[in-house]
Amino acid sequence: MNWKLWSLKKSIWVFHVNTGACNNCDIEIVNLLTPKFDVERFGIKLVGSPRHADALLVTGGGTRQAAVRLREVYRQTAKPCVVFCMGACACGMGIFEKGYHMAGPIDKIVKEVDPNAIIAYVPGCPPKPETMISGVVKALSAL
């Protein structure tokens, strides 16, 4: 395994980006950090800057206003990095699909910056914390 991937998978630090989520997915992500799920035991840690992050946890369908910011955040994330689309909105815009304010879905926005971006999808509205953990594990084992 190449050493970059090896170090990426070792203990992933995540940066949380809300691109117009209804806040429910975000609450579930916060839930991951509480003692009940405590993802820090796997080395998964929420960080305050994309420059420190190995992965982006993106929630929301990607509004026109947020798309610009998401692309900038992706540019600033240390590569290689994984983009996790958390929830139905992030995977395919969900119930907001026909909305006038949407620029998503997330994979399309991210691929405008980097066509080879590593993107993982965790569906659900919102996905349960268990689903999120299993999604992260599956994505990392597939790398």
Binding site: T63, R64, Q65, K98, G99, Y100, H101
Partner: protein, 154 residues
């Protein structure tokens, strides 16, 4: 304030209204779920809201904007928490080309953002609004396109 008392007070502004409509949620407990719609033309809206807010001391809840195809409607909702009654001022703006209505923000500062939102998505102008800048549309949204108007297809 009891229901009949509210009714009595409302009759004092009857000359400013088109009519009063009453609706009641069928399953609601006694007194709760009562709704009074005060239908008026746009010119009267400020005075009616002033009466509800200052004289009757009702609480301002929120406003709604509707594109009713032949006109625009702006609905200001007020609540009397004691009786559970909601009074909605329903103002009609007949001029579709240049829809404008008086702002209630000088009277109720809490209405500032909802009026800005209605201005964004329906293109209704609010006269005397202190700060009618774009609120919820994205920065490069084209000027003069109002996404919640009926004729706009997305």
């Amino acid at each position: 304030m009891k229901q009949h008392e509210l009714d009595n007070r409302l009759s004092t502004i009857e000359d400013k209204l088109i009519r009063i409509e009453r609706r009641r949620a069928p399953s609601a407990a006694e007194g709760a779920g009562d709704r009074v719609y005060l239908l008026c033309e746009r010119e009267q809206v400020f005075e009616i809201c002033r009466f509800l807010f200052e004289d009757l001391a009702l609480r301002f809840v929120i406003s709604t904007g509707v594109d009713a195809e032949d006109c625009f409607e702006v609905l200001h909702h007020f609540a009397n928490d004691e009786s559970g009654c909601i009074a909605t001022v329903r103002a009609f703006i007949r001029d579709r080309e240049n829809p404008e209505i008086e702002s209630i923000t000088p009277l109720i500062p809490g209405a500032e953002w909802i009026e800005r939102e209605m201005h964004d998505v329906l293109g209704i102008g609010f006269k005397n609004h202190p700060n009618l800048r774009r609120l919820i549309l994205d920065d490069d949204w084209p000027e003069g396109v109002y996404p919640l108007r009926k004729e706009v297809q997305t």
